[in-house]
Chain length 205, copies 4
Amino acid sequence: MTDKKEHIINHAVELFAEKGFEGTSIRDLAARAEVNVAMVNYYFGSKEKLFEAMVQHKAAYLKGIIEELSKDNSLTEIEKLDRIIESYVNKMFNNRLFHRVIHQELLLHQRESLQDSIINIVSPNAVAIKNIIETGIRKGVFRKIDPPLLIASLFGTFNQVLLSKKMCNKLLDKNPDYIPYEDPKFKKRLIDHLKDLLHTYLLKN
Amino acid sequence: MTDKKEHIINHAVELFAEKGFEGTSIRDLAARAEVNVAMVNYYFGSKEKLFEAMVQHKAAYLKGIIEELSKDNSLTEIEKLDRIIESYVNKMFNNRLFHRVIHQELLLHQRESLQDSIINIVSPNAVAIKNIIETGIRKGVFRKIDPPLLIASLFGTFNQVLLSKKMCNKLLDKNPDYIPYEDPKFKKRLIDHLKDLLHTYLLKN
Amino acid sequence: MTDKKEHIINHAVELFAEKGFEGTSIRDLAARAEVNVAMVNYYFGSKEKLFEAMVQHKAAYLKGIIEELSKDNSLTEIEKLDRIIESYVNKMFNNRLFHRVIHQELLLHQRESLQDSIINIVSPNAVAIKNIIETGIRKGVFRKIDPPLLIASLFGTFNQVLLSKKMCNKLLDKNPDYIPYEDPKFKKRLIDHLKDLLHTYLLKN
Amino acid sequence: MTDKKEHIINHAVELFAEKGFEGTSIRDLAARAEVNVAMVNYYFGSKEKLFEAMVQHKAAYLKGIIEELSKDNSLTEIEKLDRIIESYVNKMFNNRLFHRVIHQELLLHQRESLQDSIINIVSPNAVAIKNIIETGIRKGVFRKIDPPLLIASLFGTFNQVLLSKKMCNKLLDKNPDYIPYEDPKFKKRLIDHLKDLLHTYLLKN
DNA sequence: TATGAATGAGCCTTCATTCAT
DNA sequence: CATGAATGAAGGCTCATTCAT
């Protein structure tokens, strides 16, 4: 990917996160990125293809979360989940604008093929986590719970705090200027909550 | 609210859920609702005011979830939470299109004033739940956990399964045609999971 | 003409004077006159016919200016002109909104038939004045000047001060809040100027 | 100013003169100028900004009428006025469509800021003429008359003949097809009338 | 490779008018 | 007689995209 393309994509993420796909005009984007209006079509072919390119480019951070763990056989299942939580929270906090964009997309029924490719990117992680949980259950370390729905609880918690700053601040009783995603204390608090939830819920006794 | 207005709003919810606010044109909507294009502006003044009217009209289902419980002093805290879960899941399954629309809105930074009014509608429920949890903790019935984040887990789980059918089916290993929101078994499964999660996580021993 | 019709016409004059024919919407007018939107079409048939009715109704003040004088044979030509100036200035000051409306119309090439009827209302006065001037010339009382263009100077002076308050105030070095048309001193000043101009220009010696 | 912009403005003047600002649609204009409907907004930003650009561009002819004279100290006051009359009549005959447009604007209360800028363009000439007249009076060459109202008579005469061809022809007893503004004889006649009027009215004896 | 100019399609909205009562 | 509801047409404007250079 050339510098110019990456430059455009970085500004596209910002705008898409703010205004959505339909709400962002190529002229907005060109102005924000300080490039010619024809550049987007020149480099990417169309607004939609720019979006796809952005997804492909930015989704990288989602990969590799699991791979690291599967190599390390010395870890127990609960340790693996702890690592995943830490890794996930860190990565999502750093990529929260893009994260918001792909969740906008999942909420719509436009551009279905794009939805499929997003799901193809996201779901391997879910599957891997499910495998870990099922292994824990099979080993008798974990209680017999509903793995898919526990994963929904896990991801849902992330998303609930990440997707709307206003809602998050309301829940936390913070003033509207507080940006939880830039506060290391909040990050630790979220990680602690999720670990505690999984430990308490999954581990026997 | 007149029949005509309600008729338009009902079709508007469908289209907004599918395509988002910017992605839905008044012409689309007029065609879908089989009314004249000028009707939306005639009845609501503008596309944006139609949206607001829709939110006010449809948000009714969110009210009253909590009020019912606060009257009943015979219930313990965990029983209250159980009732809330049941009530919430039922109501959200029935209003899932609208639910999707307001979550689209929370993801964007367009129309901020509308966001505020959505939050004003949604948050009282969260606050009420937080009060119940904190009361349980104070009474020594519940473990000392992080109430706001537990609520995020609770709502997050709902949203995670409700907001994207595709993602939900992927998680559940269902085929793409399965509509979980119309399957009573799935509804029960979700309710059971959430009750189990809260019971296990909150109750001592 | 019914009271209702006259009521509407009176508000129509105000709005047309302010915003012009195309710039005034029937909804504006209905709101201003506090009648139903359908009333204009109900009473007048269309917006254009309302305009025509307004012209016919309001043009009455222009009639009779000359008739009064032609009866009185005891007046000299210059005395007749003096009377006409007084009468004209008084009537136009009282009907300046309508006066502005018909001059808007004369400036456009829309609604040509209406222009004709306006001219048919206005021109008899000009013709009568021309006759007076030509009689004066024939009698040797007036200098031999160009009657049509002198009439242009006469009407042109009226219009120049009447049609734009801003322009008028600029010329008079008044502040923008001054309303010359409501100041009796200004009226006298205008009459004096026109009389002086005609006397000096027309009378020999 | 690019050729394309000027091309659009030239057709805009025609249409605005014919139909007024509100009566002229961008689609009309695009068709007349044989350009795309989006061109007006592309070049000027909006219909209103096109209008302003037109005023700025076309008003040039009004400037410089006076400046020429103020340099020449050898001219007497009455000679200066004679030159001004000639210059004004010539320029206004050549720009009569635009002249009509700005007088439409002065008649309305829409777009007040534009009115101000028109007055700022027009009034310097009036002020300069007033100075000449007042100087003449002070020197004892001119009779003591009412300068602002004499200027109203001067400009009013121009406007009276220029603004409505129909009215003008009626006054002159010409048939409706006669176009006075293209007849050099009429131009001379107008100039002669105005010079005669000013000479007779202003000069002592 | 890069871009300013240009465009057709579509947007939301307002319009004068008509209709059913 | 009067009016609230409803409508097709047209309004100004913005859009993603294409084109000539």
